[in-house]
Subunit: 304 residues, 2 copies
């Protein structure tokens, strides 16, 4: 099985409105609730791809109960969350359908206690025994040390389990030094890490900082991958209207699947680019569209 | 005790942001959850004023459970909701603190089934036995007939219980014909009912349509009351920055308290105007500010 860790889970709520007009009232139907947090989204895509997947991290309160209830019917996905005293945070996306843009409201996660962290560390070590790979995803909640991902990367490596680290800021800077097998920063996260907005330079710099491989989604410019086998770019066909919501999590899922199946880098990247372009929402994609796009992805090797 | 009916309850969530900027991300702390729906807010103010209060209507699902849990610790307030299969809707208020304005997102309530409506009707009849007054508040959820308030007004009158009807649109138009003791439409609801934006004409027209008394909040122009004892206006002192959120529900609570205690109209209106100006949020007010303002409210009798 593949393990995904989401320390800062969320119950995601989406409202659709024709247009968001500040200082007015909007009727929003029933809204759509989804289980959220990067690692949860990655797990849902992996499970849809046919991989046995286990989710862990934290969930608590009525919102945590709802999150777990929404995950319960998902085939091939097993809930191994550690319960917290504090409720799981919510996020709200207001999608303005006429303009096609989204406005986000992210609640701050409640603080994790040291007893909860200890319980999670034990759960994590237990779950690594039997994991083919592990993904450490998203932001850290209050109460969790900024070096937590570095610690979790080291623990996975000691257990011989390959690690994908998918976060930003200081947790990424510290985590990458613990030598994860793969990082997947977006352009902003990569610039924050390396100080460079030149993607080829920045991905290779990120490799030198400790990551075995670095894959960065660049929107219409496709996926750029700095790997031990070379520097690759994968571009999906068709008009690109910005990255669909959840595209990054689909990329992470495809890369993990490729890692576990040990497929060659060009194939992993084709799969990731097709799945990314076929994303319909965080944790969800259109399988038919993905299958249609896959043979049309162009993968090219670039000079370093 | 005083009974309040809220057929379209809500779990109200408030986010504070410095400014609401469409198409961007906002960090919103933990958010504030409140039990919501007009009748619930009216009941919370009545209970704070010292009245034994019973809330009924519908609540269901995780959001309904949360609503009830938030009401459980309120002194002098008793929960007599009828459980629904469908979850209680949410509302979201995004308060932009720099500009001081609010953007609202209102979910549509889920449909009430005929079995749930029947259960509510029985509960309502039981609760009227022992009620000093009843308030019928807010919009109707899907699945409830547009003439429902007219039916509930008639039932209360048959039981000898005075009725406040606080709604708008067609439910108000039908309900007022059943001769409630009091209606409290805002300026828009009153214009929708009577076709007139001239408040003195419109309040008196609303009386002729069946309401024994009509009170309309007019923002900086105070409260206008068309009563059997005459036409009155009550204006609270001080700079008025628009109506505070929940002001209308505080007015309804003060009017119900005055009805039950049979205080003279000018005193009822003074109390309502002071409480309205001291509202801090739906269902909440500042008692010290209300006490300070009360002697400063100007009540004048107007010619019809």
């Amino acid at each position: 099985m593949i393990l995904t860790v989401t320390l800062n889970t969320a119950l995601d709520l989406t409202y659709e409105v024709p247009a968001l007009v500040p200082h007015t009232s909007h009727r929003v139907g029933h809204g759509t609730e989804r289980p959220g947090g990067r690692g949860v989204n990655v797990a849902r895509v992996l499970a849809a791809l046919g991989h046995e997947t286990v989710v862990t991290g934290f969930a608590g309160g009525p919102t945590g109960d709802r999150l777990r209830a929404l995950l319960a019917p998902v085939p091939r996905l097993t809930d191994a969350f550690v319960a917290t005293e504090a409720p799981t945070r919510r996020t709200l996306a207001v999608v303005a359908t006429r303009a096609g843009d989204t406005t986000l409201f992210d609640e701050t996660g409640a603080a994790v206690t040291s007893a909860e962290w200890t319980a999670f560390r034990e759960r994590y070590v237990d779950l690594l025994d039997g994991a083919e790979a592990v993904a450490l995803c998203g932001s850290l909640p209050p109460g969790v040390h900024v070096g937590a991902y570095a610690d979790l990367v080291r623990t996975a490596r000691s257990a011989g389990v390959p690690v994908l680290l998918d976060t930003g800021g200081e947790p990424l800077r510290r985590g990458i030094a613990a030598r994860p097998d793969l990082v997947k920063p977006d352009a902003d996260e990569l610039a924050g890490l390396t100080g460079s907005r030149e993607p080829r330079r920045a991905t290779q710099d990120a490799r030198r900082r400790g990551a075995h491989a670095v894959v960065t989604p660049l929107g219409p410019d496709g996926l750029l991958a700095a790997t031990p086998d070379g520097l690759w770019r994968a571009v999906a066909p068709g008009p690109v209207h910005g990255a669909p919501r959840g595209a990054g999590d689909s990329v992470a899922a495809a890369l993990l699947a490729g890692l576990v199946d040990d497929t060659p880098w060009p194939d992993r990247l084709s799969h990731a680019a097709a799945l990314s372009a076929a994303s319909t929402a965080p944790g969800a994609y259109d399988p038919e569209l993905s299958a249609d796009l896959l043979p049309q992805v162009r993968v090219t090797e670039e000079s370093a």
